[in-house]
Structure formats: structure tokens, C-alpha cells
Amino acid sequence: MRHIHPAEKFAFALTTMIICLALSTSITSLLVILLMAGLVIIAGRIPALFYLKLMFLPMFFLVVGVLTVAFSFSPKDTYPFLWGFKLGGYALGVTAAGLATARELFLKSLGAVSCLYFLSLTTPMVEILAVLRNLKLPSLFIELMTLIYRFIFILLETTEKIFISQSSRWGYATVKTSYFSLGQLGANLLTKSYYHSQMLFTTLLARCYQGNINVLEKPYPLSGKSIAMFTVAELILLALGLWFKA
């Protein structure tokens, strides 16, 4: 989906997310999840298994968060528990309403996540940044995002290098050395990052840096066809969502 205008994809992901969050019904969220998965896997040609793995990433946080919603407790045991037990003077358990809220919340979050996945899997960071720049976000934010995004990879690479060099010298052979090595890794990462940012500043200066990171944006033609397709998809989604809600 590289040829589609980044702003179109951005708008599509955003409106879908808003619909998903606003309607807040399980069925709408489920539709969003399926729609996005379909688009990413079929149109975006991202391997299905890879996408599935990505979807599992937020699962841990979601499950933990949702569990606390599903459980309710009360001082009386008159609560309509589907399943519960007593702890001291309190009753702890799962109610039908709690379970429904949890399910809704779970699907809603997953729906929102899949909207973001759609954006990040089909649109390179540079293009997302270009959209944000066109939305007149302050250049400080954009520049920070540019640098942070680039530095994430440098940081990962540096971490990997240090880790390899440590483990190849038995740095992680025992629990004790592991703790020590990990501490060293963290500390060195900090100094290395600092050095790196200093060097980057120097190299930018050498190229006439004057306080603003100005770069070119690629011109993308807006396509009526994809805008129409996205609009139709949104309308169908909205209609289905409202229908199910009613």
C-alpha cells in the first residue's frame, strides 16, 4: 500500500479508531479488527503469521488489565456472581456485567491497536512525519520524532553489540555476572548515546545546520479512488456498528 497517499491512510486509521472507540460495542470492535487484519494481510502483503504475532504483543497488558475489570468484589455476598469465592469478609468473583465490560474493553483496545498497526505497517515513519508536518504540528515535535525514531535503531544496535561482546566473554555465565554485565550495559549505553548525539550534532553542523532540521517532502498525489473506497468502508462500518448497537 506504498502508493497510497500517507494522509489518506492516516485519516482512515484515525477515523476507524474513532468509530471503534466511540461506538464501543464488541461487534464493531470485532469488525474493525477483521477489517484491519484483512487490509494489512491482503492489501499490505504482510505475512499473516507475522501479523498474528504482532497482535499477541499487546495481549499480555490487555489480559492483565481486563482481568482486573472482570473481577468485582463486594462486602456482601448478595452480588450476582457467576463464579466467586469468599476472602475474609469480602466476596470476590466474576459477574455477567463485569465479564461483558471486560470483553468489550478487550476487543475495543485490540481494535484500536489494529488501527495503529495498519498505519505503522503500511506507512513508513518518514511519511507519517510528513503528514504530521502538514497538519502543522510544531517542528520541534517532528524533529524530535525523527531523531528518536532513528536513535531507537542505533540504541538497539548498540545494545546488541555490547550484549554480544559481553556474553562472548562469559558476561552472562552466572546470575552474579549477569547482574553486573547488565548494569555495565545500561551505563555504557547512556554514555554511548550521549557521545553519539554529540557526534550527530557535529555532523549536522558540518552540513550547515542552523537550528532546524529541514528536509524535502515527497509529493504524493491524492487519489479520488482510494478516498472514495476509504469513505465507503467507514460508512459501512459506521452503519453496521450503529445497527448492532440499536
Binding site: 506504498r2 513508513p124 515513519m125 518518514v126 525523527t146 531523531l147 525514531y149 532513528r150 535503531f153 542505533i154 544496535e157 553519539h196 557526534m199 550527530l200 557535529t202 555532523t203 549536522l204 553542523l205 558540518a206 552540513r207 550547515c208 545546520y209 542552523q210 532540521i213 529541514n214 528536509v215 524535502l216 515527497k218
Partner: protein, 292 residues
């Protein structure tokens, strides 16, 4: 035959008695005076920590000498905004580690940074970016994210970064460091081409005596922040005492040539500057022997 430097032509960059110490007290440059010949390929040779990079940072106005002057095109560099921008527009540095130079996650955007800073109109910037990518042979990488590039590719992007600014002087800090043989050869060919077609002055630092001998027009030997010798490669590399002082090996071409000459197996009295020239001299001698 190799070209001989005419020092009479106005040098493009000059250092006049520049000294520089880092904040921790290390003296990196010690009263260096030198002139970089215009339109030529100049190499700086010297051990690690000799002051090569520090000197290069002075040429681009990143560092300001504690004492002494840097002159570009006969004019002293004043360390004000306009003067510095003018210097940095004309003198471009390709840094040794491309990782520290690339800030953008897209190749074409990365290359556009310099020309945009020069205040060129958009179309002109695109033209420069495309041209620089073509020259550096990275047009096929244009849409790749920088973090997926190999080291050699990153190096080429770093070079294109500077080419897009069309400097009069291109400084490259260890252009062949960590590159495989093919990549290194391509890089040097690229510099040759730029120097040949547009007359850009090329300055580079290296530890590779063979490279410097065959490739450079003019050589500076630098050690402990001082220039210990300068001259055309034939003068530098046939001087054993000098090489020993600079802790450098002799280029293999020089060794072989001297040995062959001693045995009378080469025809010419002119030291060859490339492998090709040496082979030709040996073949010529063969022809002479068979004709006798």
C-alpha cells in the same frame, strides 16, 4: 606519469600555525601550517590519534583553533555565522562512521538535508538529491529505511549527503575503513570521477600506504599533531627514514620496484605509481631483452 604539484597555484585551503587543545588538555594540533593544492587529491597519513580528524574539523569550521588561522580560498575564516556557512557550503566532510552522520530514516530525505539548508528551491534540491544518488550509485536505495542498509551502503549515503551540497572541497575521513575490497575500490573510483569531472579538491585520511601512494597527488605525513613531511608520493615513499619516523610501511609497489630495479629487470627509471605501470615496465624490459 604522475602529475607534479605546482604549489605556485593558489591553494584552496590553508592552515597557518594552527594549534588546538581539547578541553581535557590533550594537544591535538601543534602549530600546523600547510596548504592544500587546489583541484588535486591530497592524502593525510599518520597513526591513530595523530590529529587528522581534528585537522579536518578545522577545515570545516567545526573546531576553532586556539591559535592560528584557517584560510579558505585565500580568505581567512572568521568564525561568524555567514563566514562559517560559506565555509561549510564549500568544504564538505564525510565522517568516518556513517552511523553518526545519518539522522533520517529515509535515504532521499537524509540527502536532501544539506541542499535544503543551502536555501535552494525545491526542484533544485530534488535535482541535487537525484544526481548525488546517481553519482554515489545508490539510486536503488532511495526508498529504503537507513537502518536496513549495510555498512558499505550507509557509507555511500554519507558520501551522497555531501555530494548533494556540491562542495569545492570534499574531505573524507578514512574513506575505505571497514569497507570490503570492492566497496573501497568503488569509493575511490567515485572520488576520482568527481575530482576529474568537476575539479573538486579531494582530501582524505588513511592508514593504507598502498592506497595513498597510488591514488594521491600530494601527501602529508602527520604525527603527534605536527606535519612531519609533505610532498608528492614518490618523494615521501622512497624516503626510508621519513617512513620510519612516521611509523609507516613502504608501499609494496615501492619495495618490488626497487628490488626489480636493482636486478635490472625494469626498463624505466620512473617509479611506477600503479600496479599496471609496474607491469608495463617489466613487459617493456622483456621486449627489450628478446629484441637484443
Amino acid at each position: 606519469m604522475r602529475w607534479y604539484v605546482q604549489l605556485k597555484s593558489k591553494p584552496i585551503l590553508e592552515a597557518r600555525e594552527i594549534s588546538f587543545s581539547y578541553a581535557d588538555g590533550t594537544q591535538a594540533l601543534d602549530k600546523i601550517s600547510l596548504s592544500i593544492p587546489r583541484g588535486k587529491k591530497t592524502a593525510f597519513l599518520g597513526p591513530n590519534g595523530a590529529g587528522k580528524t581534528t585537522l579536518f574539523l578545522h577545515f570545516n569550521g567545526i573546531l576553532k583553533p586556539n591559535r592560528g588561522k584557517v584560510c579558505y580560498d585565500g580568505r581567512e575564516v572568521r568564525y561568524n555565522h555567514t563566514s562559517l556557512l560559506n565555509l561549510r557550503k564549500n568544504v564538505g566532510i564525510v565522517f568516518q562512521d556513517p552511523e553518526t552522520q545519518l539522522f533520517s530514516s529515509s535515504v532521499w530525505q537524509e540527502i536532501s538535508f544539506g541542499p535544503v539548508n543551502l536555501g535552494l528551491p525545491k526542484e533544485k534540491v530534488w535535482e541535487r538529491v537525484n544526481q548525488a544518488m546517481a553519482e554515489a550509485g545508490i539510486t536503488d536505495l532511495r526508498d529504503k529505511p537507513t537502518h536496513f542498509l549495510s555498512y558499505g551502503q550507509k557509507k555511500r549515503v554519507a558520501i551522497a549527503d555531501i555530494l548533494a551540497m556540491k562542495p569545492k572541497v570534499l574531505i573524507c575521513d578514512e574513506p575505505t575503513a571497514w569497507l570490503d575490497v570492492k566497496c573501497a575500490a568503488q569509493t575511490m573510483e567515485l572520488f576520482d570521477l568527481i575530482n576529474h569531472t568537476t575539479g573538486v579538491t579531494i582530501i582524505f585520511s588513511t592508514h593504507d600506504v598502498d592506497l595513498a601512494y597510488s591514488w594521491a597527488d600530494y601527501i602529508f605525513l602527520i604525527k603527534n599533531g605536527k606535519i612531519i613531511a609533505e610532498g608528492i608520493p614518490e618523494h615521501i615513499f622512497y624516503n626510508q627514514r621519513l617512513l620510519a619516523e612516521a611509523e609507516l610501511d613502504r608501499p609494496w609497489l615501492v619495495d618490488i620496484y626497487e628490488e626489480l630495479k636493482r636486478k635490472g629487470w625494469v626498463a624505466s627509471n620512473v617509479p611506477p605509481s600503479t600496479k599496471q605501470e609496474l607491469l608495463e615496465q617489466i613487459r617493456e624490459k622483456n621486449v627489450m631483452v628478446t629484441n637484443d
